[in-house]
Symmetry: C2
Subunit: 872 residues, 2 copies
């Protein structure tokens, strides 16, 4: 085949597909003139060819790599197989995508007994040579021959026990020589260096198809026919003597983002020793004192690399006998804070563009600027692990009821509300608590959704809790927490901890604001928020929301003075009675909507009609039922019977959403009248109002047509009464699979379609989000599902329905506006999908608005880049 | 326009689209030489043109119909507008499809004061003439001018009250003349007969767009641009004198199907009088005595008509002064029994083919041959109305618990089990009861499905019942039924009746068998049954099933001696403990499966893995929980806690189906081992076994892949152990929308796909079938839904998912076998869909098998006919 092997100076960074990431970087550094130990790359194409030939080398491969090897010998002045001046090699795999599960590295390849003796003669350091030999034998046997590492570890530990050594450092050359002999008995490592090299290359190739690698590729949609490259490189030794050493460095501080050269260095050591943490490394400042010329060289190299790669680099270096080698460079990992700071400073330094800066950050990390974090240094006792349902940290005394939470909070106590699950009846307690911890429910359970809406920390689905409401205590695997015990709950990690753990305060700094500002320049998606109260709406606007995409009107009826009216309305026995209570609810709703319109002046506000099943509003315990019966002047049994009659086996699929509007159109009329009246009055007072009325849970065109008529008739009646009008729009939630399948029939009846991906996911998968905790953990653990589909939108299943819906409706109503108001509207990966599928806006919790702004900008920029470079 | 008017002798039966049904039949009879009063048809095209011209007549229409009118005058010897020998007309609408809500008929058109006088002179019967005039004025005013009928009725009743008349017959000519004068004051009926005719034609045209007609067309997908024809015909009078009369006749007995001429006749009367039932009509035998020549003519005509139309005819005739006229012929309505008998006898008489015979019957009517019916003549007190969930009639004493049902049945009592809803725990009581009556749940609720499976009568969703278990009584709107009161429940109509109502026994007669036998010759769909027990399987085979399409293995674990083991298995605390209980369940399952394989020898048996949520198996009441705790040797609280931990908010979308298999693969292994072992042993004993293992509730390919591996590994292990093997297949239920959307990824992992349309409908609509009773009645009443989607498959929504699934999977696995095992598999209209969409089989309750055989044959025959006559 054509050129199966590239010497480092022959390759380019752009050849990643052919040379793999590692190989391409080594080539690039070589071409930049950096001191990279010489070597060559066997291409991914050679690997593919290897499999095509039934696991045999392509015809000219051996010839070609031997030719390259000879060139390496020339460059190093050493010779493979020659004991007098032996060349040792490292052999490493390197695909074009990061690929766990594949063979990693064989170091020191090329050793045998004769070479060992030559090396001792050359280095006069038999301990070093035997130690290297021992490591080689074990590494080759494990990695190439597939031997179990325990056999080697046992020999070593037995030897140390017999000789009463505590540490490896106590082993002298003779000890190591004996160990080498024992190691040789475990598996036969071929003594011919060429055989070693051939076998190592074959092993790297073959590791492309290990089970783990195959599963990883399947899981991440990486084609099987990419193959891996093999990097063969001359060994250098950081443990050769006093003027040798090895280290890792970052071109900027990966924790803070500060523009300083940052790293660690270990004298007389190999890379392994830095990573293993056996010895405490020195700072680069110390290197600059001890070997100033080395430091200067390194400093210049890192500057060069960063300028060349336009990103913060993480590099590995080795100094052998006063000579500096760069072994690897790659993009450095960094904290959220550092990522933002580096991106912004690099723009200011002219290294990258604003667009690049936006692509550099992880949109999800924006959260860290808004919520406090557990101090990673602080000691902590984790007592349980749940789902990270709403970020932030809550610290307070455990209480088990919403009422108690409210009472204690009123007394100035900080409390954490612990419940099996929460219901709308717990809202006051959730408001009063620092955070919420539930045993049941997933990322979109009531507790999680409400907590995120409040910007309050929540850990949900903490299945291992055994909560005993009667005894007022909760048991975990190893602890029992009583009421009023102090705990810390971390909504970003899902951890529940004993006592009060130290935290780091959040602050949305200037860098954060700058980046968001840039994002707004590039994004096409509008960002709205899900909010009901003027406070939440204001918060959303402060964080950059451009409207309300989901105002859940039912939330307005749970306040103490309102729920009674709501309950009376539901249990009304005549239309007349119901009308009276609706009249009262109208006043509440109108006032609320008016406040909201004023806060949101100039922005659209999407108001969803009553959605939850009616029984969610009704009391379940005896005392409350009795109180309700008294208020209604009816018997306890009668009221109880009415409540029980509303019971549902599967409330999620029951009498809710627009189904309520079809059976009780008077509720729709009241809500419409409240929205339109409030809009007119707010307009009168100078607000610019853009009300949008949204019909939930639509499954058929007839439902929407019926409700649309009710809304229009009611609105016209208000307009006549007020001798004024206001532009408003009517739209539908798309949250029932059938609505997507029949979107063509809904298209003429709606001005906008807002995908309610929470419910759409529930129905498309047949997963109840309240119950998914029973099997979702197993699904995620066994990788039956890649992600919780309630967190990251299932683009192939649910997304297919969304694509179908848009494809069917857009031709019929080209002015249709599409949006999303499920929880996915605040998830970066899902927002990308929303952009590509052609949505006009996403709507999310107020605290997710910054994430959404960044993610939307990233999606736009990616699209622009793809249009510029179609092949990229 | 070209020929807007057809004289009756100019039209053909084939011109239905142009002439409407009624017009085409009148033309056909005229062309056959039958004595039809002369007339003409104004075409549907003229109607369409009328609307195109903004509700104005096409240019030549009036000219053409006047020409036709002159021809009618020539034929009758009478003259329109001529008082000396006046021609009166009937004007009737007639679209090519039956269309309620449109203008019906104006009779006696052409009268005015002058004509009246002429008619009196001619007939010497002024009472008859004024009565006719009065009727004309009212009819024209109502139908053409849109006046309210009450105005006329009030005048008539006031007049009778003033004159103390009891009946219309007491009105004499003078009375009627006075009434005519009063009628004239209500609305001005034009006196010019030509104006009357023009207005009547316009009114018929315009009625095409009445709200009710438009809604009807929208609802039934009838295009708006068909238009209606107008039939104008000379009046004949059955009330002219003693040798006049009118009647209706059927060419065969519509109740029994017997081949005898059958009908009723009223002397000196108009058609109205026969229909209104004021006077008791005579039989045709009496006509043959009184006017033998008329009878002979009529007899010959009906024979001619039946031979011509190849179907039983329902005809209207009038005799005017000893002359017979045929006014209408149409296909006669008939009972199920008659339909089958007529179809079969007509084939034997050579009138129609077997295919025609199969298309003539209503597949749903096959049910009547299998279940007893309420005697329509018997007196009955209906006390409540529910859903007709499972056909048949049950009569027995009311009991409120399954245990009691069992106890009383054991004592020889016949009981009806009345429950809010049923659960798998009630099965023994359902078996013991004559029938089941539930307050909750729809056509596919547990009670309905199980009852249909048992062939037992059930009325479900009888929402108006107020059941009080404590007091052991049930209240309806007007009655209170106590325990042990006798009731009758009609599962075919949904009616609940007081006491014991007389019934008619069912018998699957020879005609029924013959028709089914013919059906098997033409159908392409295979018919399987849903069955678990050998008894049900045998019943299904007797009724013609060709396999089992759904064996719900969980049903095998509810028997008293097994449920304990099942419960212990579920609550096992260690894998070892669970294995022990699974070992016991294995024995039960194996034995059951072996019996089933033997009964079904030669046929496939599809076994579905455990499907329901585990909590369905666990006890809910204190006593049972305590008993279970004792058996397990654990504390009550601990067991209760475990049971509560399995509680689910939406069990339908919870931890069930293949999700159980993913978390507890040992259950799948046990079930597979039982199926395969049973198959091997049954094979050993000579049975031909075709086991198929079906995985329920699959949403992702990974689920199916995992379970497929478990099944294959287990099966191979059994094969090794037995040193024998058996061919088996693995398939998946398609009941989660996502499975349909991702069918391409499931295709390589399944040999068959069986659409579980119950759950698929639940998830596609977001309707819980257990809760749908709260809003579905309102939906059906307001026509928001045409049909209960759990009874008749929603072809546009759910069907779209099915089409998508087949479209995506077939190209990848062309050998895939498709079937349906939801309740829709037994519904005739849905079976038609199954045929057209390309299914290989449908599976339904054993008692629905005959329906399915006929429906499948009908679908095939329709397809063949379409292929022969592509335009038809």
């Amino acid at each position: 085949m054509k050129k199966p092997v590239y010497l480092f100076h022959e390759g380019h960074l752009d050849d990643k597909a052919l040379l793999g990431n590692k190989g391409a970087n080594l080539c690039e550094m070589t071409r930049l003139g950096l001191p990279v130990p010489p070597g060559f790359v066997i291409t991914t194409k050679a690997c593919v060819e290897f499999f095509k030939r039934g696991s045999r080398f392509p015809e000219n491969l051996q010839e070609e790599y031997l030719k390259a090897l000879r060139y390496v010998e020339t460059q190093t002045g050493q010779e493979f197989c020659n004991p007098a001046r032996p060349l040792l090699l490292s052999v490493r795999s390197g695909a074009s995508v990061s690929m766990p599960g594949m063979m990693d590295t064989v170091l020191n390849l090329g050793m045998n007994d004769a070479i060992v003796e030559g090396m001792i003669r050359q280095t006069h350091n038999s301990r070093f040579v035997y130690d290297t030999y021992r490591r080689f034998i074990q590494m080759f046997a494990e990695v190439v021959l597939g031997k179990d590492r325990h056999a080697y570890e046992r020999i070593l530990s037995d030897y140390k026990q017999t000789h009463r050594y505590e540490s490896d450092l106590e082993l002298d050359a003779q000890d190591l020589k004996s160990i080498v002999e024992k190691f040789k008995n475990v598996a036969e490592v071929p003594s011919d260096p060429h055989t070693q090299l051939r076998m190592a290359i074959e092993a790297v190739f073959s590791s492309w198809y290990t089970l783990r690698a195959v599963r990883y590729r399947e899981y991440n949609d990486i084609p099987n026919d990419l193959g891996t490259a093999v990097n063969v490189q001359a060994m250098v030794f950081g443990n050769f003597g006093r003027s040798s050493g090895t280290g890792v460095a970052f071109t900027r501080n990966p924790a803070t983002g500060e523009h300083v050269f940052y790293g660690e260095y270990l004298e007389q050591a190999e890379g392994e020793d830095v990573v293993s943490g056996v010895r405490t490394p020195k700072s680069l400042d110390q290197l600059s004192e001890q070997m100033p010329e080395m430091y200067t060289q390194l400093y210049e190299i890192q500057q060069k690399l960063e300028r060349h790669y336009h990103d913060m680099q993480d590099l590995e270096f080795t100094i052998q006998e006063g000579k500096l080698y760069i072994l690897q460079t790659r993009t450095g990992k960094r904290t959220a804070k550092a990522a933002v700071r580096i991106a912004i400073e690099m723009v200011r330094e002219g290294l990258i563009t604003e667009k690049d800066a936006l692509l550099r950050v992880d949109a999800e990390q924006m959260n860290y600027f808004l919520h406090p974090m557990i101090d990673p240094e602080a000691p902590q006792t984790v007592i349980a692990q749940g789902l990270p349902a709403s970020p932030g940290v809550a610290q307070g005394k455990v209480v088990f009821s919403a009422d108690e939470a409210e009472d204690l909070a009123a007394q100035g106590e900080k409390v954490v509300l612990v419940r099996h699950e929460t219901t709308p009846e717990d809202i006051h307690g959730m408001k009063a608590a620092q955070g919420i911890l539930t045993k049941l429910g997933g990322m979109t359970s009531h507790a999680a959704v409400v907590a995120r809406g409040m910007g309050k920390c929540c850990v949900a689905g903490c299945d291992e809790l055994i909560i005993d409401y009667d005894q007022e205590r909760v048991r975990t695997r190893q602890h029992v927490i009583k009421k009023m015990d102090l705990i810390t709950v971390d909504g970003s990690s899902g951890k529940v901890m004993l006592g009060k753990v130290a935290t780091i305060e959040a602050h949305a700094d200037q860098d954060f604001q700058t980046l968001l500002h840039w994002a707004d320049r590039y994004r096409h998606l509008h960002i709205r928020a899900n909010a009901e109260t003027p406070e939440d709406a204001q918060k959303a606007c402060d964080l950059g929301a451009e409207g309300i995409g989901l105002c859940r009107t039912e939330h307005m009826f749970f306040a103490a003075e309102r729920i009674d009216t709501m309950r009376s309305m539901i249990l009304s026995e005549t239309q007349k009675e119901r009308q009276m209570y609706l009249g009262r609810l109208f006043e509440f709703q109108k006032a609320d909507m008016q406040d909201l319109f004023k806060v949101m002046t100039g922005h659209p506000v999407t108001i969803r009609l009553l959605d939850p099943p009616l029984h969610e509003f009704l009391p379940q315990n005896k005392t409350d039922i009795q109180a309700l019966a008294n208020r209604l002047g009816r018997g306890y049994d009668k009221v109880k019977q009415r409540i029980e009659a509303l019971f549902e086996v599967n409330p999620m699929l029951g009498f809710r959403g627009c189904r309520i509007a079809l059976v009780y159109p008077e509720i729709t009329r009241m809500q419409t009248k409240a929205v339109i009246t409030a809009a007119l009055e707010a307009q009168e007072e100078g607000a610019q109002v853009y009300p949008e009325i949204m019909v939930p849970l639509v499954a058929t065109a007839r439902e929407l047509r019926f409700i649309r008529q009710e809304i229009e008739t009611t609105a016209n009646r208000v307009f006549e009464e007020y001798k004024a009008s206001v532009a408003y729009r009517i739209g539908t939630m798309m949250e029932v699979p059938r609505a997507c399948l029949r979107a063509d029939t809904l298209a003429p009846l709606a001005e906008f379609m807002s995908f309610g991906t929470n419910d759409l996911t529930q129905m498309t998968f047949g997963f109840s989000r309240d119950d998914v905790g029973k099997f979702l953990p197993a699904y995620l653990e066994h990788e039956t599902l890649k992600n919780d589909p309630f967190v990251i939108l299932d683009q192939r299943g649910v997304g297919e329905l969304i694509r179908l819906a848009i494809g069917k409706s857009r031709p019929i109503n080209p002015n249709m506006e599409y949006g999303i108001c499920g929880e996915h509207g605040g998830n970066a990966r899902s927002i990308r999908f929303c952009h590509h599928v052609g949505f006009h806006y996403v709507s999310c919790s107020p605290y997710r608005v910054p994430v959404a702004r960044i993610a939307a900008a990233q999606a736009s920029i990616e699209t622009m880049k793809k249009q510029l470079h179609p092949k990229g």
